[in-house]
């Protein structure tokens, strides 16, 4: 009798271990409300997170079969989308595991421009404008562990900004006016031109003035953060300059004349025909 009981218990325990190893344990008696339907593995097809808005917007009644408005609010912030506020109320819904969409990869902070512009409304279903201004602000606070917020530029970015600016890693002029911000500071620090072409810094390179054309065309924005237009026109002008032609390949004089004649008259006595 005792031996049979041992055998029965051994078989039961063995089966339980096998079943648990297989992924299901008979003792895992969770209520429906306690189970996390970790999206999208179980109930919804792949890609549901990115596209569920259209279906939910058409009729959220089906959503309410399992979810409560509070489920949706685990991701959606105020003001919540209208379909959520219209969902039938229920005490508890299946919790939704909050997660970012697939395209929020580590490079997302550098590459979110197109999507943020093309579909701002989608951003706003999870993010408030504060989320944007946490980076797009003057703050340079370092983010705490696990957080990515704290400023668009890293701390003391100004120390090393020259390489990023010259290499066009970012488009500085989007937020910083080259004349009032960049040149103002460069001149006050002694790096900017003060109207004399013979004392340009340029690492004291003696031939710089005569060979600067290629670098200038490649990095004209950088030139303008130190040099005034008058500096360049002291040579590149038909009026009082040395008449050195600054126009490069593909220059379309007629195109520019048709848009703004005053630009031509800065250097020429008459507009080109």
């Amino acid at each position: 009798m005792k031996a049979r009981r041992i055998v029965a218990v051994s078989i039961g325990v063995g089966l339980s271990v096998l079943l648990a190893a297989w992924g299901w344990a008979p003792t895992e008696a969770q209520s429906v409300a306690d189970r996390e339907f970790a999206y999208p593995r179980q109930m919804h097809p792949a890609g549901w997170l990115e596209t569920h808005g259209q279906e939910a917007g058409a009729d959220a009644t089906d959503c309410a079969a399992c979810h409560a408005p509070s489920s949706c609010r685990s991701c959606h912030v105020e003001p919540v989308p209208t379909p959520i506020s219209r969902m039938p109320a229920r005490e508890a819904g299946i919790p939704i595991a909050r997660r970012a969409p697939d395209y929020h990869v580590p490079t997302w902070s550098e590459n979110h421009k197109a999507r943020a512009a093309a579909n701002t409304a989608q951003c706003q279903t999870c993010h408030t404008p504060d989320a944007c201004s946490s980076c797009h602000t003057t703050s340079a606070a370092a983010p705490p562990p696990g957080k990515r917020t704290g400023g668009y530029h890293v701390g003391n970015f100004q120390i090393q900004h020259s390489a990023a600016a010259f290499g066009r890693e970012v488009e500085c002029a989007t937020c910083h006016n080259p004349e009032a911000f960049c040149r103002d500071c460069h001149v006050s620090r002694g790096l900017g031109s003060e109207g004399r072409s013979d004392r340009g810094f340029h690492n004291e390179n003696p031939t710089w003035l005569f060979g600067h054309g290629q670098a200038a065309r490649q990095g004209l924005e950088s030139c303008a953060t130190c040099h005034s237009q008058g500096d360049c026109l002291s040579c590149h002008s038909a009026l009082g300059g040395r008449n050195i032609n600054p126009h490069g390949p593909g220059f379309d004089a007629e195109q520019l004349r048709s848009k703004n004649e005053a630009m031509c008259l800065t250097c020429h006595l008459s507009v080109p025909e």
């Binding site: 990869v105 390489a163 290499g167 488009e171 004291e204």
Partner: protein, 512 residues
Amino acid sequence: MKCDQVGDDNRTVADGVSTTYEPWRRRRTIAATVIVGAAFAAGHIGSLEAQQWRGRAHTRVQYVQARTLVWDSVAVDQTTGDGSLRLSGTTQVRCAPATDYCYFSRAGQTRVTSPVTQDVDLNVWGFGVQGLRLYGNARFRGAISGTDFWPRADDHVDLLAGYLELQRSRYRVRLGRDYQVSGLGYYGYDGGSAVLRLRPARLEVEAYGGIGLERGLADRLDSDALSSLDEFQPRNSNFLFGVRASARPVARASVEAIYQREEERGAGGLASERVGVEATYTPTAGIWLQGHADYDLATDWWGKAGATVGWSVNPQVFVEGKFFRYRPVFSLQTIWAAFNPTPYTGWGVSVGLRPIDDLSFSLLGERRDYGETDAEVPFEVTTDRTWRAGGSASWQPQEKWRLDGGYWVNLSFGSATSTGQFRVSAQPLDKLSVGGRFSAFQQIGEFRVGEGRVWSVGAEAQWDTPVGTLWGSVDRYRHDRQENDDVLPDWTQTRASFGMSFYLGTEPGRTP
């Protein structure tokens, strides 16, 4: 040895930037500060009803050391060599014929300033009309001590935005100072905008316009802020107007297009006319496509463009590739467009790996190729091709400990750099985080540190309080200069920052 210093630090600053003390401007700053402060105080003591207003204040105070570059001279008889380029010790100097002195630049004395930036924004609503809101966002600047060599420190007040808004489900109207952020950039204007939303079609259309503010600046083109343009500053400001439309034609795709035009008031000359388009498409889970492009109708040139395709193979691996091009945009009210800026095109690949939850790596490689400039000369050739590469790693063995490190290298003319960074951060208390950081970098070429190296060590802390956030950091930089670096700036300096951000009024449950 060095005599007759013609360019001491004070003169350099005085000549370089308008730092004239303007009493009226200071009074205006004080008055605006008092008004905003009074508004906050009034609201805080309950004179306004609950749910009626909310304000945010963000303060940043810095301590900045910097050594300016100054122009110096030496007597001709104290130089060696002949011709226009000679040596004074190891320093190369420039000598003009028939003059007694030769000239050179060198690092000047250490200068110190403490710039302060105060951003304030205020939302007021509950005027008895559903959806009616008043919004203002102002920036105040100044310096606690030292000379004002920090950019824009002499412009003490900027109104970044200030408008009255009526928001309804199908439309939105704004009147006042506002700005438009799009693929064309950030443009402000004093005027108005109207948004119409056609929900069944998932279409949103916006028209906006008014008197334009300069790009990246909360001032008009004819303002004092741009007086350094001298004779090139237009007499009038610009009109700016545009139309933007965005749509989601199918559930997995979205697209936005924008047209914007700026022209000078009165004169009628065109400043800029551009169109832009941005689109995204998610064909299936884990794959995303996005692209953008803008075209300058004024110059008939393509500007920026880019296309990105990403694949999240699984939660541990992602791959992203991109193609891009870039040509800067210049107003036709400047001469720069006539200089034919050369565009570049390029491609890049980035890969992310997360072998275990605590550990992640990312790698990036990028190549750029400049177009033909027609300006090469044999003795001064820059590179047409540039490379960027880098990698970073993060390890968070415990929830409250994290290590980050990275290395980046940029091989190109003008922006050649090699940078390594390491950071350790911890969260000893629930709302308190502290960290230390170390870095070393080398920048070779224009305006750089030459072949010397700059080392830095710093500390940082952030404390999230129930009403806001306090943070601070301090860094010390040491520039190990090479023997022939006399004419380069000296980057040995100390920098510190302190900031606080907090909300007042109705709190929606989040802190800055």
